[in-house]
Structures are given as structure tokens and as C-alpha cells.
Subunit: 202 residues, 2 copies
Amino acid sequence: MNRKRLEQILDVSLTMFREKGFDDTSVMDICNACGITKPTFYKYVNSKEELLRHYYDGALETLIQAMDEHEPSNDYVALIWIGLSMTASRSIDLGPDLLSKYMILNFHEHTVTARYSAGGKQRTVEAIRKAQEAGQIRNLCDPEKLFMALKNLSLGLTLKWIMTKGSFPFFSHYGRMVEDIILPDYDTVLKQTGVDHRKKTG
Amino acid sequence: MNRKRLEQILDVSLTMFREKGFDDTSVMDICNACGITKPTFYKYVNSKEELLRHYYDGALETLIQAMDEHEPSNDYVALIWIGLSMTASRSIDLGPDLLSKYMILNFHEHTVTARYSAGGKQRTVEAIRKAQEAGQIRNLCDPEKLFMALKNLSLGLTLKWIMTKGSFPFFSHYGRMVEDIILPDYDTVLKQTGVDHRKKTG
């Protein structure tokens, strides 16, 4: 197994899926574009569908790193948003058509999307708890339940985004809904961190 | 067109879908069980898939009626819950397998599920506004945005329910998440309506 080869297969297939569509791209097409044989392809992935799962590879590491970098700011509202939005951005980046294929794959295999990863959940739940303790958000419900509500909201909004072929800007809608739920107190955030979110969200 | 005939087709097909599965039930199977010919079947529905859409027929009327009946109690928290849960119950009633077929249909046709019906939305947004005015809930965000967040949460949780083959009790999970978001003030509800939710939710 050669990590670079797998990455090549993933890059090439994603480009082809986007250009020709998932259904109209065969394993043979991908092999030809990569200059490999079918047996080589199947050393790396079990099926064309499985490629979609691989696009989430490394998402958790990227998320944890971003949260680690932001944590010292004590701006827990922003930290919550990183926790909620970063993995969702991988999904949105796939685009409505490919993402619908991925959802259908999850339906058929009865698997839940990769975004419910335990590590990311734990860190984001912790950020909610700290935001509550620091008075940065007004919703004081159980942090884990709140997290699950926010994650399921993301999943639902993603579904609607797919169904309408990406007709609305996902992150601005999701961001507003998250704010409506956690009820940030930006005056407190400003006092504690010096960050004025009103300038950004204007 | 004969309404009774359509209802027979819907009832029979739903039963067959549940017993044999959607894929293993053909239009001919449904015709035979109903004692009709294929041309008659296609006078009522355009496809087997379309039957799934029909299962939502009348959902809005049922919802509006239930909300009308409950409105005089001034228990707006309960009214919000009726607005959010009643149409979702049609989906859950389909079961994970049929509901996944319905979702895939919406993916392919780029339609949003029937549950985003304008009439039900308007009434529930109104209930949220009244709950805010009466101090029955603590979340004072824009009622329409709050409604959309709660609806998308429902959709996301439904998706997770499908993906895990209905592994958790949908309504108790959804109900807890809705409470975490709207933040009901049951003491105020009790004072205003005499209804003690704590007894029920114990």
C-alpha cells in the first residue's frame, strides 16, 4: 500500500466524478486516468462507492488541529463554530450530487456519516461547556445534548441543501441557526477575549 | 378518478412494501392484490415511487385540525410540539426502509420533503411567537429562524434514524432536543395554563 497512490486515486476520481458525474465514471475510467490496472485499484479500495468515504480521511485530525490552535484565545463561541462547521465543510465541498451518493451509500449500508466522529464530538462538547461557564452563551442545557441537536441540525440542513441542489449558502444559514440555538452573548465574549464578533458578522 | 380506489391502492401497497420490501413489490403485484389492471393503476399514480409521496396526503389538514383544537389551552409549548412532531410522525410511521426510499426519491427529483408545508410552518411559527410573548420559552430568537432550525434538526435526526435502522426512539430524542433549543419555562406554563408538564415528562 502506497499512500501517494491512494491519494492519486482519490484526487483523480473526485475530479472525474465532478466533471462526468458519479454514475458515468467507471472504475475502468479511473484506472485509465491513473495509469493503473483494476487489480491495483482494488488493492486500495473495495468499490467506487468507498471512494466517497475516503474523502473524509484526515478530517478529524484537521479539526483537532484547528481547535488546538484556537483554544488559547478563550473565544469559545468561535471554538464551537470550528467544531461544528469544519467537518461539515468536507461534505459541502463534495457538492450536492456527490454528497447525495454518499448519503445513499449510508442508507444502504446502515452506517452513519463520518461526521459523528467521537474525537471531534468530545472537543466540541467541551467548548460548549466552557462557553456556558464563561457566560459566552445563554443556552445552559446539557452540553452533549446541545451538541447532538446542533449536529443533527447540520445533517438536516445538509439534506435540504442536497435536495435543492445547493440552492442556498449552507454555512451562512447554518451559522445563523447555530446562533439562534446557543444564544451567544457577544458583549461577554468581547470583554473576555477582545474579539468583536459584531464587526465580523455585521 | 375515484378517491376510494386511490386509498385502496395506497393501503395495499403500503402493506405489501412493509411485508416484502419496496424493491420486491412490483406494480403488477399491487395491481393483482387490488384486482385492477396496470392501466387503471397508472390512472391514479405515475409510478411506484409516487405512492410514497401520497402517504403524506392529508397530513397538513390533520395538523391544522390538531393545532386548532389545542390552541385555546394557551399552552404554546405543547402547541409548538404538535406543530413539530405531527407531520414527522408520518415519516417515522413509514419505517426506516421505506423512508429511505422516499428520501432517495427526493434526492433524485430535487424536491424537498412534504413536511416543509407552508401552512404548518406558519402556524408553528405563530405558536413560537406566542410562547415567547407569554414567557413560556426562554429562547427569544426570530420565530421563523427558530422554526427552520427545529425542522432541519428533525430532518437530520430522521436521517440518522434511517441510517441506524430506527435504532432509537425518535420522538423522545427529538423532544429532548427541541426542549434544549426552545428552553421551555414550565413554571410559567403551569401558572398560565394549569398544565404541569413535569408530571408528564417526569
